[in-house]
Amino acid sequence: MLEIHNLHCYFAKGTVNEFHALRGLCLSVADGDFLTVVGSNGAGKSTLFNAICGTAETDDGSIVLDGQSITDWPEHKRARVIGRLFQDPMKGTAPDMTIEENLALANARGSRSALSRAIRAADRALFRDELAAYHMGLENRMKTKVGLLSGGQRQAMTLLMATIAKPKLLLLDEHTAALDPATAQTVMDITQAIVKERRLSTLMITHNLNQALTTGNRTIMMNQGQVLLDVSGSERSHMTIEKLLALYTQKSGEQFAADRALFSAAKAAEC
């Protein structure tokens, strides 16, 4: 499905501030895989996503999606086959446009001719059905400007926008981190339902180690621009947060340094 080979990415290359964010990263994702991605700050998680989406330019290596090399594709062309969500609910939607207008843009995915009608009756029916499945009441507010929605509602909408045109790959960059716990859970439930229903290959960055081990079917841990750990199957089902952290220290020779991850690990231990 997704084959990443020897990926290198530098920031400010050739200056004193040069930063080697991805260092020969290799990753192979099978069709229908749901990977959770963890790693301390600066490990290169978001850069990996940026490289896959084409937001960050890569300096070496190749990215092959579904047998097609997308390494040299511009960002907007990749977006036809890749859906993406950010931590910031404001990033994925246009606030001054209505719910149906936002969805219409996402649904077209570059496939609609420029002068065709923006929103047809059939589109409206489709959007209404899809939104109704979220039980947020959004299906009755199709003409509401998205800027008036709450963060959770906007994130749920972005999720629908990212998946409505049936992408091959879904990238979730801590997409529930900015939401309150209850809303985060709702959005996470919707995410899992959509991923399951559409059988999407998915990569999800999270700082919650408990969530990382319980969501999806495979977990990778990144360190210094490479994949350090890759656990799946029975190894993963027997994995605990303590074991994962111990493994990290053993392999990298350093403590796992992400306050938020440790905080959520401590909370999980309390329960």
Binding site: K91, G92, L105, L115, S116
Partner: protein, 300 residues
């Protein structure tokens, strides 16, 4: 009466300018200074083609040339990564020479054959008042057609893309749309409208003037703001209509002030600038005032 009709004629002609400015200032969310140059460009191109005997063709040629000017600014903004304001200034500045060149190196060009004169010829033995009514009718017709065209455009997929580019460019790219191309197209359309405003105004007054475009962006923004004052800010269709009404209302108020000799004709640009400054500053000042009053109340 004739003065009133004259103001309405101007209003409808300059409504095309307001529409172009609305597209960049309100929808793309970046004021485009190309307008000062493309207005005169439309005048010059239309003037030359009209002098050659084809005023209608002149209007179309103006639209095409205006579009090219907008596309040029768009290319500078997107492919050249030049700041949008500077890109507009560069095109506007360069266009001054181009406009002089088109007009054959003279700053003025008299146009004897215009659309309006062609229309008068259809009615023999026409009075001065009737002639003014015909002028108004023609200006209104052109404006209505072009406003309708733009309203339709914003109901299509590409119209939705243009609005989204001004609202959240990241989201547009994430929806697999080439945002650069959309922006270039939008700037092209906006400047086609501005150039048609220049072309129509050249035909209305019977001459082209190389200095006519100075301050046109501000005049356009003032019309847009007056329209919003009357209609509020709601849908795009209503926004486009309010820009047209704003332009007419502005000319009427201005003509009234002029007839009462409140200020001379050349004060238009100062008045426009003041309207825009006030419209932009008053809400900010009010917010600050309210905050200070709240603070005062909580101290007491």
């Amino acid at each position: 009466m004739i003065q009133f009709l004259g103001a309405c004629q101007m209003g409808f002609v300059y409504a095309l300018l307001a529409l172009g400015v609305y597209l960049t200032f309100r929808i793309l969310n970046t004021p485009d200074l190309t307008a000062d140059g493309s207005f005169t460009l439309g005048m010059a191109v239309c003037g030359v083609v009209s002098v050659a005997g084809q005023p209608l063709l002149g209007l179309l040629a103006a639209a095409v040339c205006g579009m090219l000017a907008g596309v040029l600014t768009g290319l500078m903004q997107t492919k050249g990564k030049i700041h949008p304001i500077l890109a507009g200034i560069l095109t506007m500045s360069g266009l001054y020479s181009v406009n002089m060149f088109i007009m054959g190196g003279t700053p003025n060009l008299a146009i004897s054959k215009t659309l309006f004169k062609q229309a008068y010829a259809l009615f023999p033995e026409i009075t001065k008042l009737q002639r003014n009514l015909v002028t108004l009718g023609l200006a209104f017709l052109v404006c209505a057609l072009l406003t309708g065209l733009l309203c339709w455009l914003f109901k299509t997929h590409i119209g939705l893309c243009i609005r989204a580019v001004g609202n959240n460019e990241d989201m547009v790219r994430a929806s697999s749309i080439n945002s650069d191309r959309v922006k270039i197209l939008a700037l092209g359309i906006a400047n086609a409208y501005v150039a048609m405003a220049g072309a129509m105004s050249a035909q209305l007054q019977g001459f082209a003037d190389v200095g006519a475009g100075i301050g046109m962006v501000v005049v356009g923004i003032a019309s847009v703001i007056i329209g919003e004052l009357l209609f509020g800010r709601r849908s795009v269709t209503l926004g486009l209509l309010s820009a047209v009404v704003g332009s007419v209302a502005y000319r009427l108020v201005y003509a009234l002030a002029f007839s009462m000799s409140a200020f001379p004709a050349y004060a238009l640009k100062l008045v426009s600038a003041l309207i825009v400054v006030f419209a932009l500053c008053v809400p900010v000042a009010l917010r600050g005032l309210r905050r200070r009053m709240r603070k005062g109340a909580s101290h007491a």
